[in-house]
Amino acid sequence: MMQVSNTIKTLLQLLILCFSLQSFALSDSEKEGTVTTKAEVDAYIQHHIKDAHDFHLFSYTSNGERKHVGFPLPVIVWSSNGLTTFMSSAFHHDDDGKVVVERNGSSFVKLHSKIYELNAGASQVEFDETHHATNAHKVLDFSITKSVMGILLVGLFMLMVFSSLARQYANKKVPTGFGRVLEPLVIYVRDEIALPNIGEKKYRKFTGYLLTVFFFIWILNLLGLTPFGFNVTGQLAVTAALAIFTLIIYTVSGNKDYWMHMLWMPGVPVLIRPVLAIIELAGAFIIKPFSLLVRLFANISAGHIVVMSLIAIMFTLKDSLGVVGATGLSLVLSFFITLIEVLVAFLQAYIFTMLSALFIGMAVAEHDHEHEHDSHGHELQDAEDVRGDFI
């Protein structure tokens, strides 16, 4: 009986492997006793959403021993004894602080995908009742984590692909090969996103940034749908960095009119102007970047959670629907939701680029200074002034 259920398990895992490696490491719950399948699925999804110090492709149990397949990444930390580097394989896939790595006179443990340094004299990490380490502290972590690896790979890929595309234009008019796929997208971003939102005079200066950010987010979103477990655009730090780039660009390139409209809005009663200034300042420096970063982060994280939860249906509903029923249901649902995720990957890149272009366009827009005046000599608001208030 045990043999049969093991065979079924192996077959199931093979099926998932064909479909998506993301669902791996949902190990059998019976052997670990108290851990339920639901809790395990939950823990696995949480683990995937977070950044990690190694690529964990899948794990399996052979002869009662848990085996992990993946590859390690370098750990670079600034500890109390200075710069320390080692490979994350030194932790042997431990994530609960059990394995202590001694390097450069300090002891390190890995707890919930974070590197901690043990305090001097401590040989083992101790926890308080809320499972926080009491005798270890966090270190400055410059490690090449999974997300950093993804960013570096995508950066390298984009550099290669786009520099070869640019070289092709030097020789002849029409690009060949992969460039033919990219050219329409580049022109789309230029003509449909940059040009209408920023305006004919200034759009060329910002098209480079918009193209970079569009392809960066799009490729990383698509990379997140592959079975390697990347979740780069679902990291708050990454989306925050992108949003801060946009913030810096529209703040630095904002012209006189932009600051005037932000700090001392023309065409409204004087008493209201300070109130409007507060709203405009909050909008420009907090709400706009925050909405950019949270939208991308939440969409991608939510997408990953939904896909993985639907894959996990085959484990959680195995008892009530049977193996075939649960697997079929999970396969159909997760297949179609993955298709939607492909659309979302493009849509989020498009929206981020679009809103960046819109914000930059609002900062560099040139207002017509000969405002219309009504019969009492007051300025009438033009359409752009009103638009600025809403966004």
């Binding site: 209408p196 909405s291 950019l292 939208r295 849509l347 498009y350 679009m354 809103l355 966004i391």
Partner: protein, 62 residues
């Protein structure tokens, strides 16, 4: 408990908003099919802003 009720309210509000945006955009397109492109762009921007607000509220309420 309360944050779950709040999350539900956020989703209801965002759903009503998205329905309004989509419905009005379709009406607009039906009346003026030649403006489809512009209406779609504006629709996506407004939907994105609404979505950002909804996600922000969900994120803060979590």
């Amino acid at each position: 408990m309360y944050n779950l009720i709040g999350a539900g309210l956020i989703v209801i509000g965002a759903g009503i908003g998205l329905g309004q945006i989509g419905g009005k955009a379709m009406e607009g397109i039906a009346r003026q099919p030649e403006a489809t492109g512009k209406i779609q762009t504006a629709m996506i921007i407004i939907a994105a802003l609404l979505e950002g607000l909804a996600f922000g509220a969900l994120f803060l309420g979590k």
